[in-house]
């Protein structure tokens, strides 16, 4: 059984963050109907990498969803959306501020059609505040939110987190908010408006630092609590070492042959090592680690009980036994056989394994038009006019 089976999501999202939110809902059983712009379709259809001109990124973000291709600027297109909204539980969008309003699709309009609708918006800066109309790219949002300033070496430049972090975090928060809103609806019968901003979600991560529980500076790969914890360069790659207990310090010195350090009485406690790490410990450990091959050192340290991990490249991680089963193998309608990250939820009573393809653009247009009461004659007229497209074979 899937928790969101029977929940219908009318999905105006495109690109990354919003599509990720509805992807999470679809993985948990929701019926997600993506409304794509007639002609061009979702922006993510143009995102590399491609196979034969078809986007792998689109296939990943939209697995298991349905697609209707509609021209929302036509009265006929609007009428289709209105009929569809009457059957919806949730509406999602991640356009820039004001776009939905220009299409006549405000929360107020939707609530007239479906009083308990849950309407969720997501964009860079949100629906309120002096910057609500500003376009925010991932780079700007990481920069402004403080997350970039917190990432990177203490004596080096700040750097962005090298994945689409703001998109994943905000999309996940949008899915969580929708999940809470569904619980609310069950309790009180009320729908509601949800407003997620990428800037907010990234900024909110600083709770510990702003409360004073973490230092107000970036630390690179060091820990604010333990030493030595850092990344070290070996002959053929990097290794992350994490010493959190005194006996692990002795073991580390043993493996690296740092007998003098091991013997020092003023390095026995974590507090002493933490205060002396930069000035006295970092260089000798780095020099010793540089003589090893990465995996040999990892094995020796692990055998000695020192927590550590090779810093794997993505390719190495993909080939490692630890990653077995983490990619979904999907027969995509556009790309053919393709692999991408599966749902990372492993739950004994909920099957989250991804098996369904992303839709071709407009693949389900005709099927939903029929469900909404359009006759074959009317459907032909809508297609003639360009208000709806796709689904020729349906």
């Amino acid at each position: 059984m899937k928790p969101f089976a029977g929940i219908r999501v009318v999905d105006f999202t495109q690109a990354h963050a919003g599509s990720l939110a509805t992807m999470l809902l679809a993985d948990m059983g929701a019926e997600v109907i993506k409304i794509e712009r007639a002609g061009s379709g979702d922006l993510a259809r143009y995102w590399a990498p491609f196979r034969d001109g078809n986007s792998g990124y689109y296939a990943f973000l939209n697995r298991g969803k349905k697609s209707m291709s509609l021209k929302l600027t036509t009265p006929e297109g609007k009428e289709i959306v209105h009929r569809l909204l009457a059957t919806a539980d949730v509406v999602c969008e991640n356009f820039k501020y004001g776009s939905m309003e220009r299409m006549g699709l405000t929360y107020e309009v939707m609530r007239e059609i479906k009083p308990d609708i849950i309407y969720a918006s997501l964009n860079g800066f949100g629906q309120t505040g002096p910057m609500k109309k500003t376009i925010g790219l991932d780079l700007q949002l990481q920069a402004m939110s403080g997350i970039m300033d917190a990432t990177g070496a203490a004596d080096g430049d700040p750097v962005r987190v090298g994945v689409a972090f703001g998109d994943h975090l905000s999309g996940t928060y949008m899915a969580l908010a929708i999940s809470l809103a569904l619980m609310e609806r069950k309790r009180t019968g009320q729908g509601q408006r949800i407003d997620i901003a990428i800037l907010d979600v990234l900024f909110s991560l600083h709770r510990q630092r702003l409360a004073g529980a973490l230092p107000a500076c970036r630390l690179g790969n060091r820990s604010p609590e333990y030493a030595p914890c850092d990344g070290f360069r070996t002959k053929d790659g990097w290794l992350l070492i994490q010493v959190v207990r005194d006996e692990q310090w002795e073991a580390l010195c043993g493996v690296l042959g740092l007998d003098e350090l091991a013997a020092r009485a003023d390095l026995k406690t974590n507090q002493e090592r933490l205060s002396r790490y930069e000035s006295e410990l970092k260089a000798p450990i780095a020099a010793a680690a540089a003589k090893w091959e990465r995996d040999a050192l990892a094995q020796a340290l692990t055998a000695a009980g020192v927590p550590c991990s090779p810093v794997h490249t993505v390719a190495e991680a993909m080939d490692s036994p630890r990653s077995a089963g983490l990619l979904a193998e999907v027969q995509d309608s556009a790309l053919g056989a393709v692999r991408f990250p599966d749902s990372h939820f492993h739950i004994d009573t909920i099957d989250t394994k991804v098996t369904c393809s992303a839709p071709l653009q407009g693949e389900h247009t005709v099927a939903y038009l029929r469900e909404l009461g359009y006759s074959d004659l009317e459907i032909a007229a809508l297609r003639e006019k360009g208000a709806a497209e796709g689904g020729e074979d349906a």
């Binding site: 790219l137 402004m144 009180t188 994490q242 993909m318 492993h346 009573t349």
Partner: protein
């Protein structure tokens, strides 16, 4: 009344992921109970703000009436296996994080490939700052918990969520994974830029810190050149398409850098805003807290504390009906 009122959560976790999952539940009304003594300094324990500490919490007895159990594999008491818990508490949602709470998150970030994607190409692979990746994992876990709770409400069984930070971080790597699957090659870390896709799109050192500026597509190159006073570049056949600029990323960076180096963040903000080019100063968390957009969005409140009050970030889920408790 908050939406999760009436939900009791037993939280045995020590690490950031578990705390962050529990924090979302507490924000929306769940009663989160942790073993042990309350911290002397609540500011040092900000992730557990508003949670309840029970020095004499006994397990499994303490699970009576609980809807959720959160633990790391090494904090779950012996004997509390999936089958034992399911038999005794058939509706309980158990979330067990495989990695330990002290260093498990950092080791997972290194092992799964995420750390290698962050940092400068000629520098060290870098962990995400401020335990960001683990915080993300906590939000994601909380989503799974609320989904499982709804399964229970719909008449289903409880759940055993076998949660792995490695798997969670790996799921953030769709871009390099897809590149390798479809093209055979996997891009590496590239600092703050994206030289395979977009140029200019980068962070530059300036007089009082760092400043980010970039274009979302080929459009806007003329505005960018005019903004930095280098209109001669607009029609330069070496640089007049994004594709050509991507090929000459290093060269372009050297051309742009002096303009930024000679100005402050405020001056740059004015110039790029006027030119309508996506841009932003690199702010510290403390600076971001004072930013007018963050303030207008109600993202910070003051936590009442016995001695000194301290700032507490608020829930970023802005919802018209479902509200966090105490302005969380």
């Amino acid at each position: 009344m908050s939406v999760l009122e009436g939900l009791k959560v037993i939280d045995l976790t020590r690490g950031c992921c578990g705390a962050y999952a529990a924090m979302q539940l507490a924000d929306y009304g769940a009663r989160v109970v942790r073993p042990g003594e309350p911290p002397l300094d609540p500011a040092r324990d900000a992730l557990h703000f508003g949670m309840e500490y029970q020095p004499d919490l006994q397990l499994p007895k303490g699970l009576e009436g609980a809807g959720v159990l959160l633990a790391e594999a090494d904090t779950l008491p012996d004997g509390l296996t999936r089958s034992v818990l399911r038999a005794q508490y058939p509706k309980l949602v158990c979330a067990v994080i495989r990695e330990d709470g002290a260093v498990g998150g950092h080791l997972a970030e290194a092992a799964c490939g995420m750390m290698d994607m962050t940092g400068f190409p000629d520098g060290a692979p870098t962990l995400s700052g401020g335990q960001s990746a683990e915080c993300f994992a906590g939000v994601s876990l909380c989503f799974a918990i609320t989904a499982a709770l709804q399964n229970v409400e719909n008449g289903g069984e409880g759940a055993w969520i076998d949660y792995s930070l490695y798997d969670t971080f790996y799921s953030l790597l769709e871009s390099p994974i897809l590149f390798r699957e479809l093209t055979g090659t996997c891009p590496g870390r590239c600092g703050s830029a994206d030289p395979a896709t977009l140029v200019p799109y980068d962070v530059f050192a300036c007089q009082d810190g760092y400043f980010s500026a970039g274009l979302a597509s080929d459009a806007g190159w003329d505005r960018f050149c005019n903004a930095i006073g280098m209109s001669e570049l607009i029609d330069d056949p070496r640089y007049d398409t994004n594709e050509k600029r991507c090929e000459r990323y290093e060269e372009m960076t050297a051309l742009f850098a002096p303009f930024f180096a000679g100005r402050t963040r405020a001056q740059l903000q004015e110039i790029f805003s006027a030119a309508n080019i996506p841009s932003a100063p690199v702010l510290s968390a403390e600076e971001a807290m004072e930013n007018e957009q963050i303030q207008a969005r109600g993202m910070v409140r003051q936590a009442p504390a016995a001695r000194d009050s301290f700032p507490l970030t608020c829930s970023p889920m802005k919802m018209s009906v479902t509200k966090p408790v105490c302005g969380g």
